[in-house]
Each structure stands twice: as structure tokens, then as C-alpha cells.
Amino acid sequence: MSAEEQGEVRFPPELRATTRGEEPQAESAPQWREAAPDAPAGVPAPRRPTGDRVRIGLWGSPTSGKTTFLAALRLAAQEPSGAYGRWQVVAADDVSEAFLIQSSRELTIDRRFPVATRESGLLSWLFRGDLTGTRYARKRFGRSRRANQLEFEFSVLDAPGGHYEDLYQNVDGDRATAHLAASTGLVYLFDPMREAVDGDSFAYLNGTLARLTRRCMAAGALDGPYLPHHIAVCVTKFDDPEVFERARRGNWTELGPQGTPVVPDPEGFFDWLAQDLHGSTMELIGRAIRSSFHPSRIHFFATSAIGFSTRPGGGVDLGRFGNVHQVGGEPQILGAINPHNVMDPVIALLLGIKKRW
């Protein structure tokens, strides 16, 4: 006799495997629906996966590097070493295609960062990939080659970061939250240097989380006390001298196989950095994320959209690793960009989401 048959309610509720076209639901979801407040009109539920497609949303405070992350994503997907398999990126519309071309040129040829987003716009790309031969591939005996083929839609309502705080006054902010709610996976970008100076990142996260929870509650999509999303928490600008030096000071870095610094325990680094940035709201951010998402659905990364400056033969010289310099008050990219942990969060979300189906 199962626990359900005995009348017990499992907590946290386990996600039940759903058929295609259905929303993934927790076993005890109806109990939570009873307490749902009035849902705003036209609230979309978290979007269910269509076929193997998963929708991933991007989220972050101002200057956290959302636009740069997007611009670097295609370059990271074309990683020559094939660490993430082979990927094809197909723009869903003209706007997304133009953004892809323009931002890639800015990063690689003009050596400057894409201009920060000032107006909201929906960008969408279809990522089709094959993980065969990579460390992310499933290697079960008898599994067909198709099992390693993935497809996801990376859809971003590229809104200025400030919209995530001003949810009540700004229509675009509400649209951005609705877009996040309709996604299956979330990439949350956290800029520690902005937090060290301004200490206001929690304001952007907290408002969005509250609205997101309310939407999911209204749609009956809450998984017990948790949001149904998978989330990748990315500590951005890892190549920044101040962030990287802090990580080195805390002994959180190692040299990876490519000669590039990596953080073996990014979650531990996140918590340590929250304490090292004493007086900041980073600790509150960690608490808020852990209380809103199921622990098994939270992934931490130390990312850098442009990566470290590398030597001609590859590898990073720890005496001159900076890839950004400031000219006329504007940051500029010094050399070739080497996206670091940009595809990893997306792959981790994909695999985590796929594992549940």
C-alpha cells in the first residue's frame, strides 16, 4: 500500500511524470489550489513543454549582463572543443536574428559590450543539439542515439533590469514576470560587483519572486511550497579582477582542463561570497532562492560571458587574466571572448527538466 493510498500527503510533493501537453503537477497539488488567491486576468500558466522543447527564461537585475549573456550564448554553443556537443541555433524571427548577428559582431569584432536593453522585446531562438560524446550524454545501454538529441527554446523577454523591481508601475515588468512564469527553466544572473557597491539586488529578486509565486499559485502550478521551475543561479562577471581575486583568496578556484580557472563548488562559493560581501543582500538572495525552489532544481554557476584573457597557446596567465579594460568610462573587451559557463547552466536546466519527464 502506498502512502497515498493510506491518505498521507507527501511533502514536498513529488513531480509526477506527465504526458506530453500536460502541465507537470505535484501529487498534492489540489490541496494547495484551495488557498489560491484570485488570479489576475489572463495569467498564463507555466508553459508546458511542447515535444522535447523546453522554454528557458532569463532574469537578472540591471547591469547583471543579461544582454551580454544572450550575445555570448550562441558563441558558447559553438564551442570548438565540443564540450557541449553540437548545437544549432535558429532564430525564431527577424528581430531575434538581427540581435544575434549584431551582438556577435559587437562582442567579437568591435570588442565592446552590447548596449544595455532600454526597451522590452521578445527574443526567441531554437537550440537543437546532440550531446553524444559529451559528459552530458546519457550512456545507458541500449538507449538510442535520439535520446541524446535535445531541443529547447530559449525565449527571453529582454526587459531592462529595472523592470523587475518596478512591477506595479511598469507594464513591461509585469509582462517580464509573466514570461518567466510561463518558462520551465530560469537562468538568474547575479552581479556580485553591483551588489558590492549598491547592495540592492535583493530588491529586484524579491519582487519578481513574489509576483512569480503569486502567478503560479493562481495557476495551480506550485509544487508544494516551491515554484515548479528549475533555476540556474549564475554568479556573473567571474573574470572581473575583483570577483576572481576574491574567489582565489577564498581558495575556491582550480585550473580546469583547458587551463581556465573553474570553481568546483559554485554553491559553496556563492554562500562564501555572500559572507565575504559583508553587509550586502546576497545572503538574502540565497535564502529567497532556496525557499522558493526545490533544492534539487537549483543549480549554481560562476559564469563569465566574455571569459578570461588567454595566452596564444591557450590557458590563462594568472598575472594578466583580465579581458576588459576601461576607456573613456566605458568598458571594452581586450581580446577574443571565451564564454565561461554560459552553456553549462542551460544544459544543466535541460537535463534537470528532462530527468523529470
Binding site: P241, E242, E245, G319, V327, G329
Partner: protein, 720 residues
């Protein structure tokens, strides 16, 4: 209260033969018998201090009762003295430390009421006047005249020093006043000493009110005489440690006198009427009779010293300093000026007396003297010096600079400077023109001696060789670059005026543009961004400056100055035996050798600017003068703290021997700094020209003529 231990016979017997009268010196053998209670020499049967009447009879208790009354009266008097010296807060007055003996608490409360005027001091239990033996208190409290007369003799050189020995409720203190070469008096820190009563009398470990009650002569309640655990507050218990303390305090003075030093002594009685401090002064009178006596009330504010000022307790420092300030100036204070009709062979400068010898320092406020001056029209520079000297005689070699200020004036302009002398003998300036203290700018050390000796040397000497290398930052906007080159051109023109021809001064230029930071191609290191010129004269260098042009900026917080420093050290530019200087005119610091928390990119060649700077200074003996072009405000986020710290640290290190800022300093400042380092003093800031009194009739101003010791001075300082 019953005190059976205070038997009259015991007390009389114990006190017999003692010579320490409460308020007088030991008398002859046939002197009246001392009072058995307070041991005052009585001139009448009734003691004027404690009121004991040996011949009278007390109706209440006979002799015993009378003695009790007298003892109470005496203790009340001691308590009153102690209260005056130690005035705790009202309410907790009697028990400042909470554990006072009931009798003493009663006494203190009673003394408080007497102090407040609530009690009746003329009543049967009232104490006599604390400072006198029953008569009117005629002591001249705070009269410094005796001490000032001795200090005046010291200022005149008649004695070697003056020693102050003070006794107060706090302890015994010693101060020695000396004279410096300017004739100024002041206590010598290394000769000051203080001995707390608790150290002098080891058993005196009581709370402050009880301790002062005992010091004032209080007898107390318990047997044999004393309050709470005093080991026999007998005279023997007091006299030995007091004698020892006085002898110990006088040892240094007596030893100095044995070596022939003439050191008069001033006794400072800061506890008048207190029995044991008075006893110490009596012993002092026997060992080293004072030349003058100074009496102060225990509450005199000058006795309340602040240990933070001296690092140790020095209760007499305030009194001694006040006495020193009453001594007239031994030497006059004068302002150095240029004579208005300076002839070629005439004196180069003269001293205008501001405060003649004999001037009394003001008790408060400041003593002003207004001096009309003229900025010499024949001088190119706009920087003028205002040195005030202590005129110890007609010969300038015996003069010493008391204070110097500098002012900026257009040549030919007149102004009036006010010189103010304060109560401490210090001098300061006020004027309509902005005045600056050269000491405030570490980069600009004023060489006053150069001003005193700025006449041409009688025997021409070969001019020393000087080499100057200029590092000029080329990166930046055209306007910024033009401002830097304009400033540098002005400096070079000033130097060209000092070294008009010949190769006594050789100038070289190195312009440094930004690194290319190329990451494409075989060579990733930045191309050598240096541009050389020279060497030549200062005028040629000034003409060559337009050949340098500005270039783009590759990093807001780093320029390849490290490359320029390396080039300056490695070239064979420097001549043997020459005086060398490096002038850096730039806005950004060099690139660091390695990337750290700084936003700045490291030097592509990995050069360490600190190592090269050290090489220039230590190996080549260069003096480095830094001229900083302030960083303009950049758009975007503010400069991060590590970057800001690195920038400030660099300019501080680079400008250790001379640091100037483009907006704050003028080319004159830089030129003067370099000419001084090159051994040329003719470019030092000039003196203001004296403006004679315009009023008809005899001038009230007196001068000393400086003739540089060639013919000897003839004038003498005169008072006005």
C-alpha cells in the same frame, strides 16, 4: 562621640619636642608650648587654629570635653581644606567612593555646608581660616612676580636654569625651565618629575577624600590616630617618607649645583594650610632655600594639567608656562624684506623690526603689527616669501627663522600684511592676499637660509652641472594634452631664465603614448610607446615641445609610464657628477606589473614601475618631481576602491620628493623646486620690497641691515 584613646597626657607626651608647627617655623626653646591638638605655636592660651584652650574649662566635659571640641574643630578644618581641593558632586559629596568612615563623612558634610554658606563658620565648632593662623588671609595667591624676575634673569643669561619645586594635594612636582638659542624660555620635558603622595607615603592607600583629609592634617577617629587602618598615623609615619621624598626630588638640583650650575629655586606652595605638604616645604627650606615662593590655591586651573599633553603628569607645567610667557622678549622679531633702493653692492635684504626686544607677550588675544609691502616689479615670479626671524644681533648668521609664509602677488602690486604675536610667543600672518605656510606642502620646503644669503658670492665658483629628464604623458584629449604641455613649457622657460646659456643645465624629453594592447598577431606585447627628444638647453626643450602630439587612450587608469621610467634609467643621458632630476608630467599612473584586484591592465612587458623608480632614486641619485594632471570625472560608475587606492599610492610614492598639481600649483613652484635641487638658490622665492612709512617726520620703524657678514653689521635692534 567618645574617643578614650585621645588622652591628653598621651598626646602631649607624644607631641613633645616636635618642631613642625602647623603654620610656622620652629621657634626657640622658650617659645610657647605647641597646641597639643594641632601643634600650632600658641601665642595665647587659646589656640587660634583649633580653639583648644588649655587654661580654660569646658562646662560640659572639662579638659577632656575641651580637647574633643578642639580635635573636632581641627578635623573640620582639615576636612574643609580637603573639600576645597576635592569637590565631588553634590549628593554624593560625602561618599564619593562609598566607604567613608562615618566620622569623616560627617566632617565632609559639615565642611560642605560651610563652603555653601549654610553653616555658621564663626560658631563654636567652626574651623579657623584654613590658610592662616587665625588672622586674615593676606597670602598673594598666584603672584608670579618672584618667579618672573628669576626667569627674566634666565632669559638674559644670568643664570643657567630655574627650577620649580611644587607641593600640591596630588603630590610633589619638579620642573626645570631652560632657554633656547632664540632666548625663548620653556620647561624642559626631560627634567620634569612628579611623585604622587601615594607613592611617597606607601601606607596612604585611601580613597581621595580620606587621603586628602589626612594630608591636610586630619587626625581621624580610631586609635591610635587615623582613619580605617592607617598604621599609626603618627608623625613618625609621615615624617620619614616625606623627608625621603623631598630629598629624592632635590637630588638632581643639588647635584647640578655641585657641578657649578647656577640654578635658583622657586617653591610652589599649591596646598597652603595643608599640614604635610607644608611640612615638605619646611624640609625644602632647610635643604635648598628657595629664591622665590609662589603660592597657589589647590583649585587653581593652571594646576589641572592634561596628561595627554605631556604623556605624564606634570601639574606645574601650566604654571611654569604661564610664568615664562610673562617674561619679555629677549630678542626682537623682525620681518625680512628687500630694501626699496637696492643698489648693486648694497645689502640684499634688511630686517624690519616687528616686535622689539622687551616686548611683553599679550595675556590673551594677539598683538598685531601691520606692514605695508610691495611685490618687487623687477621680479618675474609671483611667489614671495615672508620670513620672520629672531634677531639675536646685527649679524645675520646669528639669526634664526621663527616662521615663514609665502604669498602670491603680481609684481608691482602693494599689499599690507598683518603679523600677529600671540600669548605663546608664536607668530602668524594675516593679509588680504592668500597666504600659505610652506610647511603645509611637503613638496615645497622653504629654505630660509637661502634668503639670508642670497647675495652673490664674492668669489665666483664653477656652476654645478644639472641634468633634467622630463617624462610627458601623451595620451588623452587634445585640450588635456595642451594644458600639460603649456605648463611644462612655462616651467622650461623659467628654467631657461635661470640657466640662460651653456650646458650647465641639460634637458631631455620622453613622451609616452599608450600601449596598443594588441592581441592579434605574433607580438602581443605593446609596441614601445616612447618618443624621445634631446638633449638640449631648457629653451631648446621648450621649443621642441610642440613636436609632441597627443594620442588615444587605451586604459583610463594606466599609462605606460613604467616604460618611460625604465628608459630614463637605462639611457646614457646622465652626466657624471651632475645633479639629476626627473620631472614627470602626467595624469594616469603606470600599469601594474601583474593583474590584481585592480581594473587596470598589467604592463604588457611586465615592467615593475616601483623597481625602476627605486633604481632611479637609489642608483642614479635622481630627485623625482611629480606634476599631476588631475583625473577628470569619467562617465559611468565611480572608480572602484582598489583602483583609487592604487592611483593615490602611486602619486604619493612618486611625489615623495616633490609633488605638484596642475590646478593648484604654478610653473614657478616647480621651477623653484628644481632649482633648489640643482643647487641654484637664485630662483628661490623673493622677498617683498619694503615700503617706507609715508607719514612725514621721523620714521618709527627701525631696521637691521644685512650685509652678509662681509663688512660686519653696524645697526643694532632698537625698541619702539
Amino acid at each position: 562621640m567618645t574617643r578614650p584613646q585621645w588622652g591628653q597626657s598621651d598626646r602631649t607626651r607624644r607631641l613633645a619636642g616636635e618642631d613642625d608647627a602647623g603654620h610656622g617655623s620652629p621657634g626657640p626653646e622658650d617659645a610657647p608650648e605647641p597646641c597639643p591638638v594641632c601643634r600650632t605655636r600658641r601665642t595665647a592660651p587659646r589656640c587660634p587654629v583649633c580653639g583648644w584652650d588649655g587654661d580654660g574649662h569646658n562646662a560640659a566635659g572639662g579638659d577632656r570635653g575641651q580637647e574633643h571640641t578642639a580635635a573636632w574643630r581641627w578635623d573640620l578644618r582639615a576636612a574643609l581644606l580637603a573639600t576645597r581641593a576635592h569637590s565631588p558632586e553634590r549628593g554624593a559629596a560625602a561618599t564619593p567612593e562609598g566607604t567613608l568612615h562615618p566620622r569623616l563623612r560627617t566632617l565632609l558634610r559639615r565642611s560642605h555646608s560651610v563652603e555653601d554658606g549654610h553653616g555658621d563658620p564663626s560658631g563654636p565648632e567652626s574651623p579657623a581660616a584654613p590658610a592662616g593662623d587665625g588672622g586674615a588671609d593676606t597670602t598673594p595667591y598666584g603672584d608670579l612676580s618672584g618667579a618672573v624676575s628669576l626667569l627674566t634673569a634666565l632669559a638674559a643669561g644670568e643664570v643657567d636654569a630655574v627650577c620649580f619645586f611644587g607641593v600640591s594635594p596630588a603630590g610633589l612636582a619638579m620642573e626645570e625651565v631652560g632657554r633656547d638659542d632664540r632666548g625663548a624660555l620653556g620647561p624642559r620635558d626631560d627634567r620634569a618629575a612628579f611623585l604622587d603622595w601615594r607613592q611617597a607615603v606607601p601606607w596612604l592607600r585611601h580613597p581621595a577624600p580620606e587621603r586628602q583629609f589626612l594630608l591636610a592634617g586630619g587626625i581621624g577617629a580610631d586609635a591610635p590616630y587615623g582613619v580605617r587602618g592607617v598604621p599609626g598615623t603618627s608623625d613618625t609615619a609621615w615624617e620619614t617618607p616625606v623627608r625621603h621624598a623631598v630629598h629624592e626630588g632635590l637630588q638632581g638640583l643639588l647635584a647640578a649645583r655641585e657641578h657649578g650650575r647656577d640654578i635658583p629655586l622657586v617653591a610652589v606652595d599649591a596646598a597652603p594650610g595643608w599640614r604635610w605638604p607644608r611640612h615638605a616645604l619646611t624640609l625644602l627650606d632647610r635643604c635648598a632655600p628657595p629664591s622665590a615662593t609662589l603660592t597657589l590655591r589647590p583649585g587653581d586651573p593652571r594646576l589641572h594639567d592634561d596628561p595627554r599633553l605631556h604623556g605624564d603628569r606634570r601639574p606645574l607645567a601650566g604654571v611654569v608656562t604661564a610664568a615664562c610667557r610673562r617674561v619679555p622678549l629677549r630678542y626682537g622679531y623682525a620681518l625680512l624684506t628687500r630694501p626699496p633702493d637696492q643698489a648693486a653692492e648694497g645689502p640684499a635684504a634688511r630686517a624690519r623690526l616687528l616686535f622689539p626686544c622687551g616686548t611683553r607677550l599679550p595675556d590673551s588675544g594677539e598683538l598685531p603689527v601691520k606692514v605695508p609691502l610691495l611685490a618687487s616689479p623687477d621680479q618675474d615670479a609671483t611667489l614671495f616669501a615672508l620670513p620672520v626671524v629672531v634677531a639675536r644681533g646685527p649679524h645675520p648668521r646669528r639669526w634664526s627663522v621663527l616662521r615663514t609664509a609665502q604669498t602670491r602677488l603680481e609684481p608691482g602690486r602693494r599689499t599690507t600684511v598683518t603679523v600677529l604675536l600671540d600669548a605663546s610667543g608664536a607668530v602668524r600672518f594675516e593679509g588680504p592676499e592668500p597666504l600659505a605656510d610652506p610647511g603645509a606642502d611637503v613638496a615645497f620646503h622653504f629654505d630660509e637660509r637661502a634668503l639670508l644669503e642670497q647675495s652673490p658670492a664674492p668669489i665666483p665658483r664653477p656652476e654645478p652641472l644639472s641634468d633634467l629628464m622630463v617624462l610627458l604623458e601623451l595620451g588623452g584629449e587634445a585640450d588635456d594634452f595642451a594644458r600639460r604641455t603649456g605648463f611644462l613649457q612655462a616651467v622650461l622657460n623659467r628654467l631657461a631664465a635661470v640657466w640662460p646659456h651653456g650646458d650647465a643645465l641639460r634637458v631631455g624629453l620622453i613622451g609616452y603614448a599608450d600601449h596598443a594592447f594588441r592581441t592579434v598577431g605574433r607580438n602581443r606585447t605593446g609596441e614601445a610607446p616612447l618618443l624621445f627628444w634631446g638633449s638640449g638647453t631648457a629653451r631648446e626643450a621648450a621649443h621642441a615641445l610642440p613636436g609632441f602630439s597627443h594620442c588615444g587612450v587605451a586604459d583610463d587608469f594606466g599609462a605606460p609610464m613604467e616604460e618611460a621610467l625604465q628608459a630614463a634609467g637605462s639611457t646614457g643621458y646622465w652626466r657624471t657628477g651632475s645633479r639629476r632630476a626627473l620631472l614627470v608630467v602626467g595624469r594616469r599612473p603606470p600599469h601594474p606589473p601583474r593583474q590584481g584586484r585592480d581594473q587596470t591592465l598589467p604592463c604588457p612587458a611586465g615592467l615593475d614601475w616601483e623597481a625602476h623608480l627605486h633604481h632611479l632614486r637609489q642608483r642614479l641619485g635622481l630627485r623625482v618631481i611629480a606634476v599631476r594632471d588631475p583625473l577628470p570625472g569619467l562617465p559611468g560608475r565611480p572608480v572602484r576602491p582598489p583602483t583609487g587606492e592604487r592611483i593615490e599610492r602611486f602619486w604619493e610614492e612618486l611625489g615623495r620628493q616633490g609633488r605638484f598639481t596642475l590646478d593648484r600649483h604654478t610653473p614657478d613652484d616647480v621651477a623653484v623646486c628644481f632649482t633648489r635641487s640643482a643647487g641654484r638658490r637664485s630662483a628661490a622665492a623673493g622677498l617683498m620690497t619694503d615700503v617706507p612709512d609715508e607719514e612725514p617726520g621721523p620714521s618709527h620703524t627701525r631696521y637691521l641691515t644685512i650685509d652678509h657678514g662681509l663688512t660686519g653689521g653696524t645697526a643694532q635692534p632698537e625698541g619702539r
